[in-house]
Symmetry: C2
């Protein structure tokens, strides 16, 4: 018997973090008697008078939202990071070590419409969201205390999203966060050894193989990374080796909007539900010198495993020992690739 | 204004992994409009004829469980790791890297009683579970392919536990899993520098401070680690610097059972619910030379934040950037410490 990575249990190395995932492809046959989730995607009104993100409505801090018609950004009323935290450190015998952190947290409404999500928006409307992301990165980078800007979206109740109005967040921090730090180390190491971008080389190999590619256009590729942890985890990688969304040309922004729409429609079509995920771009750190090694990309971490109601639990073994997945990344890519790019609600 | 780690946002270093957590103590005031969970802990029968873990019942593979009266262990019918996986590697240009993994997965029924959980069991019954854990570690270590043995429990539906019958699991693997690998590095580094156990020194400082200690007996301490990620995350640390549960004396096993009961009763009492968590011992790797640096401990990762129905979501920012918590570890420790050690159902 020969080792077959599509069939036998094995570990795969995550190039971006240097960590690894346990893959148990045979385990997808396991029956499920555990917890099921409510299926998402109930029809919502275009405007909800009780929603604190809808245009004109009152927010938690008492402010009223303007009658916005384009993507709208404001400072998070419950920011995890604050601008005016006093500097300070704690270090007791090298055993209790803490450092004060400043930062800025914002909320971005993707659309005035309460009932839409990215996959249901027009490409032109998604392009405006991307423009706002780029504008925010520019603006926040101008603040010298900021070292890293994380833009992300928690989509769906199951992802801790407390309001279905389409929105994302920005957490800009004084330090480089853990996951970004790992990716920085790995990309640096590769760049120093090869003089090329790690993700550019990886992308080249994936395009040759065509085993994990879901969609491609002139400027971007959507794929299931070889080391994916979540069942339908994907990445969007820019073909051009740039460090940040601010470097995208107008044509690239349009292509980015197209592949975002393409990928998220496939997601919704997979289980004919508003597909939950956490997603976010990984940008180079800012106010931190040059980062020629950094290659812009976006991660999608969706929790669903078998259906709209059965998710993958990252629990016991995963928390204590090693991330583990039950279906192979190749199987996931094949399924996502085979799906139509017209949203199931519009059929 | 001075930096106060109980009030201001900051990062804390995790000594065991070398990673860090973002703490936002002020954020606990945030209102919650999002997803709530069903409260656990509905009364169950002592015996459930449809449960595949109850004594005498039929399992998925067609076998019948014996009429067991003590903790009972069997090979998992849906093992993520298998004994006979063929050896093999994949390495394409250093970019697609995979290694075959062998292993053994087992299930442990803690009690024949379908309606009990650890906090509701007698200390003498918990001691038998610990004896079985030690026996399993001994037995599995005798297999030369095994390098690491992870014993753990997923408790509660919200932790992906598909059967409420009190049970845990063992995943024994050919490689050292990621989280254990990190702890190995950190403990080694400290041991080489200081000639002492990292956790022994940490424990000494925590016992002096008494800020995060929940319970203590002659042989064990239960505390909220300074770097806890989950709202009510805790650790049990042995006072004696040993590498494995197999080294515990009969007296230590009894004391371990007592502190396990003490801690899990506090957990159940916190929100008067069967408190969900993933928990597991971290043992030194086996068949891998000496590990004088390793210090036995047990982690508890419970998801609940505010009540039996509102959990902490480790999503967007946490997945893409940095683990983040809203209440301080000191606040969590204070609450757990103040709770009675008589189970609320027995009051
Ligand atoms: O083995 P079980 O109980 O079927 O499955 C549960 O625990 C495993 C180990 O932590 C996880 O990988 C699964 O996602 C979870 O549902
Ligand atoms: O900021 P929100 O939407 O209130 O909160 C949500 O996203 C945050 C950032 O990923 C998480 O820390 C919270 O656990 C989650 O509920």
């Amino acid at each position: 018997m020969h080792f077959d990575y599509k069939e036998h249990p094995h570990t795969r190395v995550n190039l971006l973090t240097g960590e690894w995932v346990l893959v148990s492809p045979h385990r997808s046959k396991r029956p499920w008697q555990g917890k099921t989730e409510a299926a998402g995607g109930a029809q919502r009104p275009e405007y909800d008078p009780t929603c604190y993100l809808c245009p004109g409505n009152k927010r938690a801090d008492g402010d009223n939202n303007p009658q916005y018609t384009e993507p709208y950004v404001f400072v998070n009323d419950f920011s995890a990071l604050l601008k005016d935290t006093p500097d300070g450190e704690l270090n007791e015998e090298g055993l209790l070590v803490a450092t004060s952190q400043k930062g800025i947290c914002k909320v971005i409404c993707f659309s005035p419409r309460h009932d839409l999500t990215l996959p249901e928006m027009e490409v032109s409307a998604i392009t405006k969201v991307i423009d706002l992301w780029a504008g925010q990165v520019k603006e926040l980078s101008a603040n010298p205390i900021i070292r890293y800007i994380q833009i992300f979206e928690n989509k769906g109740e199951i992802m801790g999203c407390s309001n279905p109005h389409p929105h994302g967040q920005i957490w800009a921090s004084q330090n480089v966060p853990l996951e970004v730090f790992k990716e920085l180390q790995q990309q640096k190491k590769y760049y120093e050894q090869h003089g090329r971008s790690l993700l550019a080389d990886y992308l080249k190999l994936e395009l040759k193989k065509q085993e994990r590619i879901i969609a491609e256009n002139d400027h971007f590729v959507a794929l299931v990374p070889f080391w994916a942890v979540w069942p339908y985890e994907t990445m969007i990688i820019s073909k051009r080796h740039v460090q940040s969304v601010v470097q995208f040309t107008a044509e690239e922004k349009q292509a980015f909007a197209e592949i975002l729409q393409n990928l998220t429609i496939r997601y919704d079509n997979l289980f004919e539900t508003s597909f939950p995920y956490s997603a976010g771009m990984h940008e180079a750190p800012v106010n931190d010198g040059e980062h020629p090694e950094w290659h812009w990309h976006m991660h999608f971490y969706p929790p669903l495993l078998r259906s709209a109601t059965v998710k993958k639990f990252m629990v016991g073994y995963e928390m204590l020992a090693n991330p583990q997945r039950d279906i192979s990344p190749e199987f996931a890519a094949e399924r996502l690739k085979a799906l139509p790019t017209v949203h199931y609600k519009k059929k």
